[in-house]
């Protein structure tokens, strides 16, 4: 029934990506990319294990654990109020729409390069995400027991006995899974100066020290790969207390309170309003001109570049996911091939896209190409991995065809709605990441944000960040409408919801 609509939607995205390709800057400007890639390959084959900066690994874990811990706690409290107050829903939306790197750049202005910056840069956006996801889980839970409670039961008792136990297990699984995302985010925070793994990786990539980088990344993959062994309900208290004790010392910054007051009352107040008389018309017309200049010279080109980058990356992700998912499906590659495919896709998925883009930028030179490849590969691996799990959860008839025929006539058509659900859900994520990649030099919104912050024009940065939030909100709304129109809005979109096989 939806086949035609599925096809047309896909075609529309494909055409938009082709149009974007026509205007995108995809040049390889590096003089000798192959030689550099050969050095990278040699480095990966001979990792320098002894060079690993142990403290950067410890601090990565500590920032992630404390940040995710605070984020989950705050998100849990917000989730309870989530269905009742529009203000809570809107603030959760704003918190999670601002990328952790933007948060970090802003927080550095207040706390310097200290532990508070690292922890809050994770905790704040994650609180917004946790609030939404926890609220959805509470809404979906079996609440039959609530209606049987004796009348007069206090709201807290009712919540603790009849609601919380039904969702506690899902909360736990989701929080521990989020820790994995938190580790990736923390690594990336190193690229703006916090002492995590990313801080050293940036240096290694810049200097072409690939053996050192490979060893450090290897440790990171090991951390992610063994997450289920060291991050469980029973180890959470030890992890939390240990992390709090081991967080690094801060570097400079002065009094956080004074900084915060200055930040709120001076830095982010638009320049024309800062000194002008708020009663005079001239002040406000100056403000309008100021806003218009930012919109015209920064927001419009920034949004255009962000969308161009995101559309190409999104379609690239889709094609990759459709090609890759048989690699992780028992149905296609058997019991032996499947684990190998899984390891491959999990490694790719664990590679932070920001770091991948940074590395490709060193190899290929500045253009949109590194960012597109990084986004397509990272998200393609995620969606491919999930699709593989769906492929194995399908019931196949006993005389089903094999190989390509099975793929083309059975698996792919049956999973296409699910594929679109994942892809449309990741659309907003890819747009947000595309904006961030501006920090690496592509002229998306993040480029202008980074420039404004380094010129200490935080008022301009605020306007640009809010524009990013607005852009993501629009994409999110369009994606939701599309999913509803295609009747796929009830399908799984979160990683934690894919069938376990």
């Amino acid at each position: 029934m939806n086949r035609l609509a599925f096809g047309n939607t896909s075609l529309l995205f494909l055409i938009s990506a082709l149009l974007c390709l026509a205007v995108a800057d995809l040049a390889v400007t590096a003089l000798n990319p192959w030689a550099e890639m050969a050095r990278l390959a040699r480095g990966i084959l001979r990792p320098d294990v002894l060079s690993v900066e142990a403290w950067s690994v410890v601090w990565t874990v500590a920032f992630a654990v404390v940040g995710v811990g605070i984020g989950a706690t705050a998100g849990f409290l917000l989730a309870i109020a989530f269905p009742h107050f529009t203000a809570v829903r809107v603030s959760a939306m704003v918190l999670r729409s601002i990328h952790e790197l933007f948060w970090a750049l802003l927080l550095i202005q207040v706390f310097g390069l200290g532990p508070a910056t690292g922890v809050l840069a994770i905790a704040i956006p994650y609180a917004g995400i946790f609030a939404k996801v926890f609220a959805e889980m509470i809404e979906e839970a079996d609440l039959a027991a609530v209606s049987v409670l004796p009348s007069g039961t206090s709201a807290i008792s009712a919540f603790a006995f009849a609601r919380l136990p039904e969702v506690a297990e899902r909360f736990k699984t989701y929080t521990l899974y989020r820790l994995e995302c938190g580790l990736r985010s923390t690594l990336v925070l190193g690229f703006v100066g916090l002492p995590t793994i990313g801080f050293h990786l940036e240096g290694y990539f810049k200097q072409g020290k690939y053996a050192e980088a490979a060893a450090l990344l290897g440790v990171f993959y090991l951390l992610i790969g063994t997450r289920r062994l060291w991050a469980r309900a029973s180890t959470v208290p030890v992890l939390l207390i240990g992390s709090l004790l081991l967080l690094p010392e801060g570097v400079g910054g002065g009094s956080a309170l004074a900084n915060l007051v200055r930040f709120v009352t001076h830095d982010i107040v638009p320049a024309p309003l800062r000194n002008g008389d708020p009663g005079s018309l001239a002040t406000w017309s100056a403000f309008a001109g100021w806003l218009q200049a930012i919109a015209w010279h920064q927001v419009v080109p920034g949004v255009c570049n962000t969308i161009v980058l995101a559309q190409i990356a999104l379609v690239g992700m889709g094609i990759l996911a459709l090609v890759l998912f048989p690699l992780v499906s028992r149905q296609f590659v058997g019991r032996i091939g499947q684990p190998a495919g899984r390891v491959l896709l999990v490694v790719v998925r664990s590679t932070p896209e920001y770091m991948l883009a940074y590395l490709l930028l060193q190899l290929l030179g500045p253009s949109m190409l590194p960012a597109i490849i990084a986004l397509a590969v990272h998200n393609g691996a995620i969606v491919g991995y999930l699709m593989g799990r769906h492929a194995d959860a399908l019931d196949y008839r006993a005389d089903a065809p094999h190989g390509f025929n099975l793929y083309a006539y059975d698996t792919a058509p049956r999973l296409y709605g699910q594929f679109l659900a994942y892809s449309l859900y990741r659309w907003e994520i890819i747009v947000r990441e595309s904006a961030i990649f501006g920090i690496l030099g592509v002229a998306t919104l993040g480029y202008y944000v980074d420039a404004a912050i380094s010129e200490l024009r935080l008022d301009v940065a605020m306007v640009l960040i809010l524009a990013t939030v607005g852009m993501c909100a629009v994409i999110d709304a369009v994606s939701r409408r599309l999913r509803r129109a295609l009747r796929i809005s009830a399908l799984a979109t979160r990683l934690a919801d894919a069938p376990a096989v």
């Binding site: 079996d142 039959a144 027991a145 209606s147 049987v148 409670l149 004796p150 009348s151 007069g152 039961t153 206090s154 807290i156 008792s157 009712a158 603790a160 006995f161 009849a162 136990p165 039904e166 506690a168 297990e169």
Partner: protein
């Protein structure tokens, strides 16, 4: 007090999801009556029980049709839930983590009366359907309010077990309104039988005046 009016419906109509289910029901239930409500599925039994419950929720212990347990919690906690309103929030939270010995003794005694004392610290979700239903009954027994409203509270139990559970409910609760599908249970345990057909009341008689065949004719249960 025996004889006081507990529930009263006059010309009551009700719908479910916008579809009319009950028409023009007159029903008065007095204290210490034991009423069985019977009828084919879809006749409006659950809707009728819902109307009664809404009249005085503060005096009613409820056994809903689906056992409505919190499956990840233990049987103990599910039964304790019947008295959440009698303790402070702090005490309830403490009980969730570390129940006091006296509460365990109380709950164990209630569970013993439905033959479940061995399951007290097992997760409710791990029990069989019949055991879950008895847990739901135990929650109502522990709640102990004077009126019991039960929607097919023994549907998952065999006739002997079912009779045993019904006797417990009669010992504990003064006034009882039960939806039942077993004619023998109804005639033996209720002193008044109400039969619904297509949302209308077609029989409302003391059970001593009725025979199994009178009832079967109307609702076609198994003899």
């Amino acid at each position: 007090m025996a004889g006081d009016i507990v529930f009263e419906l006059k010309g009551a109509c009700a719908g479910y999801n916008g579809r009319p289910v009950l028409f023009d029901i007159d029903l008065t239930v007095r204290a210490s009556e034991r009423v069985a409500v019977m009828g084919r599925s879809g006749a409006g039994k659950s809707t009728l029980l819902g109307l009664l419950y809404a009249q005085r929720p503060a005096d009613v212990a409820l056994v809903p049709q689906a056992s409505a347990l919190v499956k990840p919690l233990s049987v103990f906690h599910n039964v304790y839930m019947g008295r959440l309103d009698r303790h402070s929030t702090v005490y309830n939270l403490r009980t969730l983590v570390w129940p006091a010995a006296c509460r365990v003794v109380e709950v164990r005694a209630v569970l013993a009366s439905v033959g479940l004392e061995g399951e007290i610290f097992n997760a409710a979700g791990a029990l069989s359907g019949g055991q879950q239903q008895r847990t739901s009954v135990a929650r109502a027994l522990y709640n102990g309010r004077p009126i019991l409203i039960g929607d097919e509270p023994v549907s998952a139990l065999d006739r002997v077990q079912g009779a045993d559970v019904l006797s417990r409910l009669k010992e504990r609760h003064e006034t009882i309104v039960l939806a039942l599908h077993d004619v023998h249970h109804a005639l033996e345990h209720a002193d008044r039988v109400v039969v619904l057909e297509h949302g209308r009341k077609v029989i409302d008689e003391p059970s001593r005046k009725l025979t199994a065949n009178d009832l079967l004719r109307h609702f076609g249960g198994e003899p």
